[in-house]
């Protein structure tokens, strides 16, 4: 039966929760901080900012990443911007409005207290990043510029050309490198976490593989933070970088950390459409393009004319038509679904029929080519490189694609998982975005967790927990290392007939078909038959060439795909159990006129899954969500 999940939401009015928490948290005096160590897995926005802040505070930090440099984390790919309730535009923004938009945008499946804290610290994030030299866009007078993003009617998004994620990551990375120089952060690159080590029921370290040499290493600490990003690569084709994986989080899940809302995946509306069978990944076009770009399809089915030859009155600007108040800035889940409907109706464009137009003709007429190029130039160039078409001269073609995952390891208000001492930050946790993430809020969450939340909550944990000294020679580390080595040995010894990628692609097809933009009971049940078969075949027929004691890319991929297969099954199970539609989780059986139909009476909760052993069905636990400030209401962007 369901064990009660304690979210540890502080009492009191929502505006005071974070302040009073910080006051109530235990402190660790500076001389004692030196004696405590923290491991950070992943050095994207959340990980790098956490490592930097904890290092500044004086903790001994060990940071791990799979890349050759932390600057390559996939946070770099967030193009559009970062939200903050600064109200610099005097257009009516406030902490409360950002909170409100985020809760509503997440279709009431996020935790109110977490979201309020996120909105509250958002202004500090901008201050922090500006102070450390992030070159945000400026107005001529020298003040910061803003733009608007999907799901909001105010201009609260700060940006650095089309490279906001990159610039923010470089900011957090350089702050972390400052701590590396100061000796408080020890950086281990090209290491992949392959197990979590628990001693006396607490997270006390990790086992990693050195990707260059194949060596298996143990590292101990007083607390472990996982900030390893999201799992959209379960779909094979997604906007995630090639090396994004669920592995670190999944291994922690297998050690007892609950996995929350795995089926909440975001389908982003503005990706460059798929071009062929051998495609390796999808490229996102920033959502900011929808500020000036107008989305349309031909009114007539099967209209194959060149878009420039289709007159105005034969175009359907469907977002503006269906959602007059938000228009092209409708949130991602809504805009994605509308694109799918139009293509399902046979009005999609491109040779595949799976694309819609994103047109800048009017904006170019209104603002001029120079202004448009200043705002989106690099995105336009990128589009042209990939497709060979010039978006200044003809509309872009876009189609929805898997992008961000709102599900992740379950955490309480302190970002602590169900394993004591294991904290989870950024996209790897589940907490702030509900069933749909609004644009420009992922960067905000990563940095909020790393710079502002974890420094307090980690201190509270370390200050309030009796932590015996442990070393990496402890039996628990040896056992974990043995397990890791055994799994690698097993993967290397199969020597079957199929490549790792062929399994990954097959899994991706199943997931997109049955657990993608729209799901139904029948399809999910089918997927739950197909995936275990795929898993069985994988473990009998995968081929990993080369040597495990050297750099071996296929071995790295094989381990990740093995975890994706297991996660994929859990995603389908979660989607099947959630008999409602909300945000990016769209069950075809539950809809009103094509809009998602939530079931608040039965599903106003977080589903958190407990691992029970290989091949044993997981247990579903629930955390009821209370909406005391933003009242449950059907989302409308009309």
């Amino acid at each position: 039966m369901s064990k009660k999940l304690d979210s540890k939401i502080p009492s009191g009015p929502i505006e005071k929760k974070w302040e009073s928490s910080k006051f109530n948290y235990k402190l660790v005096n500076p001389a004692n901080k030196r004696k405590h160590s923290v491991i950070v897995v992943g050095t994207g926005l959340a990980g790098a900012s956490a490592a930097a802040s904890l290092g500044e505070l004086g903790y001994k930090v060990k940071a791990f990443c799979i890349h050759d440099s932390p600057r390559r984390a996939h946070s770099v790919a967030a193009q559009g911007g970062i939200n903050a309730a600064k109200n610099y535009q005097n257009d009516g923004d406030s902490t409360y409005r950002l909170f409100y938009d985020t809760v509503k945008g997440g279709d009431f499946r996020a935790r109110e207290a977490n979201v309020f804290r996120l909105a509250e610290v958002s202004a500090n994030i901008i201050d922090q990043m500006v102070a450390q030299g992030v070159p945000f866009a400026r107005e001529y007078g020298g003040t910061l510029a803003n733009r608007s993003f999907g799901g909001a009617q105010v201009s609260r998004t700060f940006y650095a050309r089309g490279q906001t994620g990159q610039q923010l990551l470089l900011g957090a990375y350089s702050e972390m490198m400052r701590q590396v120089d100061a000796g408080t952060v020890e950086l281990r690159t090209r290491r992949e976490m392959l197990d979590l080590v628990m001693i006396d029921g607490k997270a006390r370290g990790i086992v990693v593989r050195n990707l260059n040499t194949g060596e298996i290493e143990s590292h101990e600490a007083d607390a472990v933070i996982i900030a390893s990003g999201g799992y959209s690569n379960v779909f094979f084709l997604s906007t995630n970088a090639m090396n994004c994986a669920v592995t670190a989080a999944w291994k922690a899940h297998k050690r007892g950390a609950y996995f929350a809302n795995p089926c909440f995946t975001q389908i982003h509306p503005t990706c460059i459409p798929v071009h062929g069978e051998n495609q390796s990944k999808l490229t996102l076009m920033s959502e900011s393009l929808r500020n000036d770009g107008r989305v349309w399809v031909p009114k007539a089915q099967g209209d194959k004319r060149h878009p420039n030859e289709i007159p105005e009155n034969e175009r359907d600007y469907y977002l503006e038509r269906v959602y007059p108040s938000f228009g092209n800035l409708a949130p991602r889940d809504v805009a994605s679904r509308q694109a799918k409907y139009r293509c399902d109706e046979g009005r999609g464009v491109n040779e595949t029929g799976k694309a819609v137009y994103l047109d800048f003709k009017d904006a170019i007429q209104r603002l001029g080519v120079d202004k448009i190029s200043e705002r989106y130039g690099n995105l336009f160039e990128m589009y042209e490189k990939i497709t060979g078409d010039n978006p200044y001269k003809m509309p872009m073609m876009i189609y929805p694609a898997p992008h961000y995952t709102m599900g992740g390891l379950w955490v309480d208000y302190n970002l602590e998982s169900t394993i004591p001492g294991l904290f989870v930050a950024g996209e790897a946790n589940f907490s702030d975005h509900g069933a749909n993430r609004l644009g420009a809020s992922a960067l905000m969450q990563g940095l909020a967790d790393g710079y502002f939340v974890l420094p307090s909550t980690i201190g509270n944990y370390i200050g309030g927990t009796k932590l015996e000294k442990v070393s990496a020679t402890h039996d628990a580390f040896k056992a974990a290392e043995d397990g890791v080595k055994k799994e690698i040995q097993k993967l290397m010894s199969i020597q079957g007939n199929r490549t790792v990628d062929s399994f990954h692609k097959e899994l991706g097809h199943i997931m997109w078909e049955y657990c993608g933009m729209a799901r139904n009971e029948q399809g999910l049940k089918k997927a739950l038959e197909l995936i275990p078969k795929l898993k069985e075949e994988f473990w009998q027929n995968v081929r990993v060439p080369g040597d495990a004691n050297y750099l071996n890319v296929e071995l790295e991929k094989a381990g990740r795909v093995a975890d994706f297969i297991e996660l994929g099954e859990l995603m389908c199970r979660d989607a099947l159990e959630r008999k409602e539609s909300c945000g990016g989780h769209y069950r075809e059986e539950y809809q009103i006129d094509g809009e998602a139909k939530r079931d608040d009476a039965n599903f106003c909760h977080v589903a958190a899954w407990e691992y029970n052993g290989d091949g044993v069905p997981e247990t579903r636990h629930t955390e009821e969500l209370q909406f005391e400030n933003v009242h449950l209401a059907t989302r409308s962007y009309k």
Partner: protein, 262 residues
């Protein structure tokens, strides 16, 4: 999609590990779609190698959107290949002709030891950053962002420098394997902003020192780096770095060792 299909011959540098001797091996890339990226073409070659029981060609890559800076190798003598302002992941096969013979080799620089095949170790660039490529600002007490006004022209120029992705193509293109373009981009970014002023001189001295200590060669302003740079980082940055370094060296003051009184 029914695009044009190409057949290519690839001469690829294969090297098992840092201490092993490498050499070129020839492969055929058949029926390559012109819409595929260069790396997708290599993926297909690798799938075939694995099916035959061979080891795939190792190359670094990740975002495949030209942003992360992971990918990069030399194609026919040019870092990131023949297209300007492009990473190799954004180089599409429509830029090649049927029947071409292409030579693929890793970045060549003493400071970038080969890890395997086309992958090199670029951690020297991280050590240059940790030597001073930051602004000392602890989390949590920053002043309101709009209290630091930055003229738009300065912000834009800083942004253009900050856009460096640290891929290492500049080093690979340079006959001296100099990291001047990379280092100067970071020094410029911070020297152009009010936030970067306090540590401006120390930063220039430390980062240039770190660059030399890593074994990168000297800059002779040939400009090959600028041509190879996928992000159009300009040579102006190198001029600015030199100026920053000379000013800093000429006016360097010893650090005070006195402690506080109380």
């Amino acid at each position: 999609m029914a695009g044009k299909l190409l057949n290519l011959t690839l001469k690829v540098w294969r090297q098992k590990g840092p201490k092993d001797q490498g050499g070129f091996v020839e492969y055929q890339a058949k029926n390559v779609s012109e819409d595929a990226s260069f790396l997708e073409m290599l993926d297909a070659v690798n799938e075939e190698l694995i099916s035959k029981g061979d080891e795939p060609i190792a190359f670094d890559h990740d975002c495949r959107e030209g942003i992360c800076g992971s990918c990069g190798f030399v194609i026919d003598g040019e870092a990131h290949g023949r297209l300007r302002s492009t990473t190799v992941c954004q180089l599409h096969m429509r830029n090649f002709d049927d029947g071409e013979v292409l030579t693929l080799e890793p970045w060549r620089a003493q400071a970038f030891p080969v890890i395997k095949d086309l992958m090199v170790n670029r951690s020297a660039l991280d050590r240059i950053i940790s030597a001073g490529g930051y602004i000392s600002e602890n989390a949590g007490n920053a002043v309101d962002a709009n209290s630091i006004l930055v003229p738009k022209a300065d912000a834009d120029e800083a942004m253009s420098s900050a856009t460096c992705i640290g891929c290492g193509a500049c080093v690979a293109a340079c006959k001296n394997a100099s990291a001047a373009l990379f280092t100067s981009a970071k020094i410029s970014h911070m020297a152009l902003l009010p936030q970067g002023q306090v540590e401006r001189k120390e930063r220039a001295i430390k980062m240039v020192g770190a660059m030399d200590a890593e074994g990168f060669g000297s800059c002779t302003t040939t400009g090959a780096c600028e041509v190879a740079c996928p992000k159009d980082i300009s040579l102006t940055n190198i001029s600015r770095m030199n100026r920053e370094f000379f000013v800093a060296s000429a006016t360097q003051r010893p650090k005070h060792k006195d402690g506080g009184a109380g």
